[in-house]
Amino acid sequence: MMRNAAATGLLLVAAFGVTALRYVPAVALPTLAPPSKEMQQAVKNIANALRGCNAVDRMLWSQIWSKVAAAVDADNTDTQVVWGDTEKLKVFTSTALRIGWRRIGGNKPGKYPELQPAVEAAFAAILTTKVQPVTKELRQSYCDLCQAIAWAGIGRDQ
């Protein structure tokens, strides 16, 4: 795949010159509906923390949080609930980040120094840090927050 990309790049240089290369690594960021005002406020510092973030990381960030939201939202439709309390949700959240952000994306802790405190603050504001049962309302808030974090990653607010 890498060879194909390199070959494509060389062909573009041959055909159109160096400026054509600018478009090769372009990443199509997803289109996400803006979250509620409350959620926008909650994730404002996350968007700020990602201000210098490159497009690849933005896309990965957005994809991870969108899929986390989709997975947890589906828990509402099954008779056998997987994430019954917030401690289990926390394990899922951190595992998704560990796999997606760290292992696949290769991002080390502290790469965006303000990101960790901003995400923790958003969760604390919307869901608190209490260990408690995941009610339908709490599950909805969790999914809304994850979607808002995904939205903050694509930088549409800036």
Binding site: V81, S94, Q116, T129
Partner: protein, 302 residues
């Protein structure tokens, strides 16, 4: 379908009258004079399933129905207090039925051992959970953890020897502040409508085949079950048994799957007569588990 229909309630009208007379608020009406049935259907099992999504009704292994009916009442009360009343507690898991059963046969009677046959009374269970508390599955009690399901051997041991002395202080941390007699359908409906579970002891038996979730009276069971719901379209109470998914026939599809064959609706008039036998109790004020906080949501990955 459960093969064994085990009971275990011991009728002692004089004993229950004496116990009830000793209560600061003997009846539910006296304990909560302003509370009435809401006029709406209420199913308290929904709260339990939100706190414990994996819950299913298992089967009592010996004649320990009093322990099972009372323990489930505690679990439902704990979940109601967290979700309906917003008490700052966390759900600590399922109550160890054997602990309630054992305490009802020993400590609540002022004896250390009880070599009599299986079984207990409602009022001794009420006294046990008020004065001595209960243990829970999955909790580490200084290296001893009970895991579900409990065996007949362990339930019988608890029933004869009581809760081990070194665990009594753990049980004492989880008492129910108030127990009060429920002796009629209106009292039952008011209790359930306001989130107070009722464990029901009577000699009323039922046919094992339901019709749209309704149980019809049949035979005699010296049995303790657990009241977890009321409905008003055709007045009745939902009574949960302790024999697993024991009922055949057609279910009430509005109920969660976990409750559809493990309990059923009982006509208000039938329930009224069961309660009039004078050994059924509403419980309130569970001293639950301290709420805990997570150190983070993302675990230092970012």
């Amino acid at each position: 379908m459960s093969d064994a229909m085990l009971f275990g309630w011991q009728s002692d009208p004089a004993g229950s009258r004496e116990f009830v007379a000793s209560l600061p608020n003997p009846t539910f009406t006296q304990a909560a004079p302003g509370l009435e049935a809401s006029g709406q259907d209420v199913f308290l099992g929904d709260y339990l399933l939100q706190c414990m999504p994996s819950w299913t009704r298992l089967s009592q292994p010996i004649g320990s129905c009093v322990g099972w009916g009372t323990a489930l009442s505690i679990d439902i009360l704990a979940s109601v207090e967290i979700l309906k009343r917003g008490e700052p507690e966390r759900f600590g898991g399922r109550t160890l039925e054997a602990s309630v059963y054992g305490l009802s046969r020993t400590a609540a009677r002022g004896v250390e051992t009880n070599r009599g046959g299986d079984g207990s009374t409602g009022f001794h269970a009420a006294k046990a959970i008020r004065d001595f508390g209960c243990l829970h599955y999955g909790v580490d009690y200084d290296g001893k953890t009970y895991t579900a399901p409990s065996s007949g051997i362990s339930e019988r041991t608890f029933g004869r020897e009581g809760v081990p002395a070194q665990l009594m202080h753990f049980a004492k941390a989880h008492t129910c502040r108030e127990v009060t007699l429920v002796q009629s359908w209106p009292e039952y409906a008011a209790a359930i409508s306001n989130g107070y579970p009722v464990f029901i002891c009577s000699d009323r038996g039922f046919n094992m085949t339901m019709k749209e979730g309704w149980l019809s009276p049949s035979g005699s069971w010296s049995h303790c079950m657990m009241g977890a719901g009321v409905r008003m379209d055709k007045p009745g109470g939902f009574i949960e048994n302790s024999w697993g998914d024991c009922y055949k026939g057609t279910v009430d599809p509005r109920l969660p799957v976990q409750f559809q064959r493990s309990g059923g609706w009982v006509d208000a008039q039938v329930l009224d007569k069961m309660l009039a036998q004078g050994d059924s109790y509403a419980i309130a004020g569970f001293n639950g588990f301290q709420q805990t906080n997570m150190d983070s949501w993302t675990g230092g990955i970012l």
